[in-house]
Symmetry: C2
Subunit: 490 residues, 2 copies
């Protein structure tokens, strides 16, 4: 890769105009760090094309000049996936001006969205047409369709509808040689060779820039019911999920696990929160069901679970305000944990049926190995995916993660790998996990990833340094390296 | 590629033993032609390994010697995908001895099957555990899991459950360098880079040999209802599907379109068949719904459709025998068509909502362009996939397809491509469609397919000549070339 020559920058400036090209440090600054403030990079310019044709031209010019491109949507990556490196050679390609929903067919249940459409905007537009896009997550106000596709985003509705991979019916993308891949037509069946759509989903911009996607819309929910239940163990939580699915079928859309420790943190650190149940329980679950009148079957199923002793206590939200209060407890865990002290965080998955015993055993192993640590594992139990966070011993200073986080994380990732699980369930690899992937990935898989990357992007201009594991793990940034960089803004 | 040296054949013979190695022409003969008798090839030997370790060893030896391997399951490809070329240099790798269902977890809804497990055997084993594998097709008595995965097979339940791509939760495969990709763990969420599982599904053995897969099982159907309905147009058939889905939701599992012409062929050529409806209608649909008692809601929904005039007549099967008779009408169309005379066949898809108008317009265009031809388009309307067969003019001899089939098929494929559709909805590319894919594929897509193939199989030893479009379409066999070869067995 090379620093873009002045002539190339001039060409790009005239191609994109004032709205689409900037080198102004003040304009660029917010886009050179990730939203958590852990990764900091530099760029020669920031490009904000308005059309796919402009992206084609950008990629052609940069492929010829071997200049690196870093695609960026809402800049809400959890793993530094949209932050350029510190060389200053790269160009950021922001999709923020490509905000058009090209079409929305309510009857067919399809929306064609440009890459820069913000998730919350798609939610609102779909709802106005009596439909909904059934994927949501905390960053919905900034996350874009292009980023969600490129990271195969998950969230709290994967249980019923799957991640982006299951919701993308078509893709349009500019490949690393500047060719346009036109695959937006929603074909339910298409066996014309390797599935490039699935290959681009989750590729984190390393195989091209997604410019638009055709997405599945489902009927708007007629109603929703939200409940909070207490159980004795994570295994009982899994049993409760099976019981609810048998009773309500597809109506169960969310099933989030909240251990007592997480609830206690929220109640201690987030003002205006209170415990939904009268007595504390070791494990809580937040349940959301949809349908014409879901309160009734959900209440009935929970009553049966109470009677059988599977559930210690349960309450169905009596109002939308109470439903929101329950969700706020779940959504505030990260914030509360942060206020309480440092933690080494992990986004892991194992087979759904294995998660309950894995959590229990892994937590015990971690706490035995690192004295004083406390595991806070919560989240998408129904998907076999929890956020397995290891909190520092009480009183540990802010340098705890820097000093021992690397070792803790390696220990956790080793346990996950031994259980056949994934060290990145939904956040992707980005730059944060590329070293761990190199260290722990199945060699056949790693070789295949590298070969595919070399084949489609031989000059390595597409989001270099992200996702593709280096041959030598030592070449990658370490898992918690970003913390050491803190404040070292270029 | 090279002819296998005697020393290599000796090594393979001693590795695999008498059950796993043969060069006997009589033993090999059934596996050198496809089941329709259209493609004929030759092989230096046929290997039938019993374990994945043996496949690893086979691939390592053959990669080193640059000897071609043709993976074969049930040999039921519709596009010559499992037939070696005529050079006689290739080795057939049959998975027929790898028939073990390694595990079946009814509660989790998962079965781990070796590649050689026959579809009907999986159906029976799952049923005995109160579960079912929700994909079926005509060749279920011979088609194997490895072949179904490698061709992303479809069938008559795609409407509700999707094709293989949606049912495979894990894959184990030997890659072209002989490395073993171990990805059988069913992770609902896994974002560790490019999705190799999805890349191997539908790769037709050109990127490696699938040795096992983890498959989704669903609860066994409590009951099923099968109905036959008559409508005035293909568009009304689409409307009927939407009406039934609104009324019955996911319970509608099959929705097959049968035009009057197809039903007439079956009634004329297949003994013991009769028309389900009292009066002939232009279009028929076969509907299957499942559930605890699906007759009742299906009857009710059809009654509403009758009342509104959407349906001309309808009958719900009153017995299992009648249900089977309805399905027999649908399943006998190909056989009846064949008895009636020659036809040029096409397996196409467009967007679901576009299929009804496309069928009507494309049929008119074909019949106008090729005087006397009659289009017989039938099948999976709910998936936007029909088998669009162009029957020869009355009285045409058996040489009709040879003389003009090429031109007819090019015309049909041009229409499909112009409509944004696929020239292979479910049958794959194999050797039959590789020329048409080269001629009609989006250049960006074709370049990407070739680059991926070169990257993962640089010596081109994995099922060479299949799926990957040659740069010059003239290098590929033409669409109907197989017919010209008839009887020219090597």
């Amino acid at each position: 890769m090379a620093y873009p020559a002045p002539a190339l920058l001039d060409k790009l400036a005239s191609l994109l105009g004032a709205k689409g090209f900037t080198r102004d440090p003040g304009d660029m600054a917010p886009w050179l760090s990730d939203w958590r403030g852990r990764y900091h990079g530099a760029a020669a310019a920031m490009l904000s094309p308005a059309t796919r044709e402009e992206i084609v031209e950008i990629v052609r010019l940069c492929a010829a000049a071997q200049v690196a491109l870093v695609p960026q949507g809402g800049n809400s990556s959890m793993v530094g996936g949209a932050t350029p490196d510190s060389s200053g050679e790269a160009l950021i390609v922001s999709t923020r001006r490509m905000k058009r929903i090209r079409s929305l067919d309510a009857e067919a249940g399809l929306a064609v969205c440009e890459a820069g459409v913000i998730l919350a905007d798609l939610h609102a537009t779909a709802l106005a047409a009596g439909r909904r896009f059934p994927l949501t997550l905390g960053a919905k106000g900034s996350a874009t369709i292009g980023g969600l596709v490129s990271t195969n985003a998950g969230g709290t509705q994967v249980l019923r509808f799957g991640p982006m991979r299951a919701l993308v019916q078509g893709i349009e993308a500019v490949l690393p040689d500047g060719s346009l891949f036109e695959g937006l037509t929603a074909l339910r069946k298409d066996n014309r060779g390797y599935d490039l759509r699935q290959l681009l989903i989750g590729a984190e911009g390393t195989l091209g820039i997604v410019t638009a996607a055709t997405l599945t819309l489902v009927p708007a929910a007629a109603g929703r019911a939200v409940a909070w239940a207490g159980v004795a163990s994570a295994t009982d939580a899994t049993r409760l999920l099976r019981h609810l699915e048998a009773a309500l079928g597809d109506a169960v859309e969310s099933f989030e696990l909240v251990p007592k420790s997480a609830l206690d943190l929220v109640l201690a650190h987030v003002p205006g929160t209170w415990a939904p149940l009268a007595a504390a329980v070791p494990w809580n679950v937040l349940i959301e069901a949809v349908g014409p009148n879901p309160d009734e079957p959900l209440s009935r199923a929970l009553a049966i679970a109470l009677e059988s002793g599977l559930v210690a206590d349960a309450v169905v939200a009596a109002s939308e305000a109470q439903a929101q209060a329950f969700w706020r407890l779940r959504d505030s865990i990260s914030e509360a944990e942060k206020k309480d002290g440092p933690a080494a965080k992990h986004d892991i998955s194992v087979a759904v049926g294995d998660m309950a015993p894995f959590m229990t055993e892994a937590a015990a192993a971690v706490e035995a190995r690192f004295a004083g640590t406390r595991v806070n594992a919560f989240g998408h139990l129904g998907d076999g995916n929890v956020h397995f966070n290891v909190r520092a011993p009480e009183g540990a200073g802010p340098g705890w993660v820097e000093s021992i986080g690397e070792e803790v994380s390696a220990f956790v990732h080793d346990l996950v790998t031994a259980a056949g699980g994934s060290i990145s369930a939904e956040h992707g690899i980005g730059q944060m996990k590329v070293g761990e992937l190199a260290r722990l990935g199945d060699p056949a898989r790693l070789d295949a990833l590298r070969a595919i990357k070399r084949a489609l992007d031989p000059a390595n201009i597409m989001n270099p340094g992200k996702l593709v594991p280096p041959v030598d793990p030592m070449e990658a940034p370490s898992f918690h390296q970003s913390l050491a960089q803190k404040g070292v803004r270029p």
